[in-house]
Symmetry: C2
Amino acid sequence: MSALFRLLAVDGVARRGRLETAHGPVETPVFMPVGTQGTVKSLTPDDVREAGAELVLANTYHLMLRPGHELVRELGGLHRFMGWDRAVLTDSGGFQVFSLSKIRTLREDGVTFRSPVDGAAHFLSPERSIEVQVKLGADIIHVLDECLAHPVTHAETERSMEMTLRWAQRSKAAHVTTTDGRQKLFGIVQGGAYEDLRIRSARETVAVGFDGYAVGGMAVGEPKPVMYDLTARVTELLPRDQPRYLMGIGKPEDLVEGVARGIDMFDCVLPTRNARNGQCFTADGPLVLKQARYTRDPAPIEEGCPCYGCRRFSRAYLRHLFMARELLAYRLMTLHNLHFFMGLMGAMREAIAAARFEAFKARFFRRYAVSSEPVSLDDDGGP
Amino acid sequence: MSALFRLLAVDGVARRGRLETAHGPVETPVFMPVGTQGTVKSLTPDDVREAGAELVLANTYHLMLRPGHELVRELGGLHRFMGWDRAVLTDSGGFQVFSLSKIRTLREDGVTFRSPVDGAAHFLSPERSIEVQVKLGADIIHVLDECLAHPVTHAETERSMEMTLRWAQRSKAAHVTTTDGRQKLFGIVQGGAYEDLRIRSARETVAVGFDGYAVGGMAVGEPKPVMYDLTARVTELLPRDQPRYLMGIGKPEDLVEGVARGIDMFDCVLPTRNARNGQCFTADGPLVLKQARYTRDPAPIEEGCPCYGCRRFSRAYLRHLFMARELLAYRLMTLHNLHFFMGLMGAMREAIAAARFEAFKARFFRRYAVSSEPVSLDDDGGP
């Protein structure tokens, strides 16, 4: 079993590295587009590749419910099923079970829940999650964790974090017996908004030993400064030679702040979901296309952007498509947003390699107008 | 003013020709994808071009209401606005006014109606329709006609047909004063299901004199054999050296039957709208992808089809996307259907050029399983 990660350069706490997966290299820091149901919404695999993505996230929860992991395996696994020959990461299904499903029972053993697709009862345990993820066949998979709704007390968070640690051990044991080492397994650091619990969770998860470490539960609830501080506190406890993944984060400013705190991997529905709501990301900040001022604007969404939409169409035309609820609007704006996110990650990688990350960060924040809208769920299951 | 049409070959009544437009040649018989709101739903102009389209239809009614013809003109005209450098045809807006809007008054002068977008009152007259179409800038435009809901009496059809003839004269007069000859104007033959009225309408519309002739009102109401017979009756009265366009038709079998009766041009929402409803066209007939038998089917929609979806994905995957309401399903199935329609037209053009059209037609009907579902509206304004 070869190592997943190579650390190529460090600039302060920021890291430039590379994941070596069974489906090719992934340059880090990396942003993963979210392909919840085995598709990055509205885009073909070629579109996603053209935007520069090397790794996409798919949601185990959604895929096990529809079309089912057995079917995906029968059709050659997730890569072949969705026509994507680069790397894929799956989460454990935990987050969605706890946020989207009606839970019937949560016990040490696992969780029983109802499928929102057809109402059928399903059981998810650490072993079952690994089994499903092995059948889906992603390059990077995750331990099952319990995800709490915020706010939540210290005692409850501690109980949950301790169970997640026991689940991590069971996940690891299940993983060892079922894979050939091509699928890498990540542990997940929990602990909510409590620094002492985050520290314990980080130390004990590392003690179990994984190919990489995700930081969970940061996308919900905590105010930004708390999230940034906790992230920094956690990453300093994680092994230097392994990748760190901040789950479900985030906005462009969060990506920059996360990299500044030693994070290597991110995913978020923001570029895809917000595109479908008419929000386009630019170096100056988000642009809300339905605003009347773009009605007759012949300029592209962002001057100099290499995406198809910016090369070919005016803001006026894209706004028309969006106002008329035309499907092409969602596609072109999604593609643009992915280009923007990929471009931002590429710029950060270059800055770290050149030991200029602090200057890059300062320049980014001088120009980028931060928006205050909240971001929720870490899947992309919405319309 | 050069001639729009060149007749290249005749095989029985079927015709092989070419439209020479200001935006390039269009080989006929031709099928026009419908781009109601200035976009062939879910596709980029490059997708539409790759499918083989040389001419697309856009709806004057929808575009005058949103984003407005003045805005389109300000942004360089319809071709530039929608990023399509091949030929465009617009209808007059009449069909949609009579089928989609709440009409306030219909008089000899014109028709006043309410916009479903914002409730505003609009007026459409022969002169106004020409003005709007000139501003949109399509290569082929149409006279305003009154479109009746079926069934309708002989007397009422006659009254309407006669007004449409007077409107045709006014449209032609308006067209002469407003264009440089690059925009070609088509007259429209009406007359409902009544052969005597169709004959009068054809003769008198030809007497007014246009660059081509559309046959309107066939998409609604008449049983198929009546429609086919009336179409044959009309085309034999139309000038041999000018193009004939059967509006809003149709299904693959209608295209073959229409070509067999001397039609050169077709448009229909079928390939685009039905794709969004999960129906894919193949040489064996329509395939309804949501059927359970495709759940684990590793085959493409149609073996040998050159479209992106058939080259890259299984029926099982496309079905999954469709069942999960993923936008990519609509796009890939639309693209497939357009490829099928374009392929069918190309095969008919070859057969006519080789004087084998009857054999082609017989072979088509031996294999193609005709579906009995009706087709309605000739725009593609639905979701």
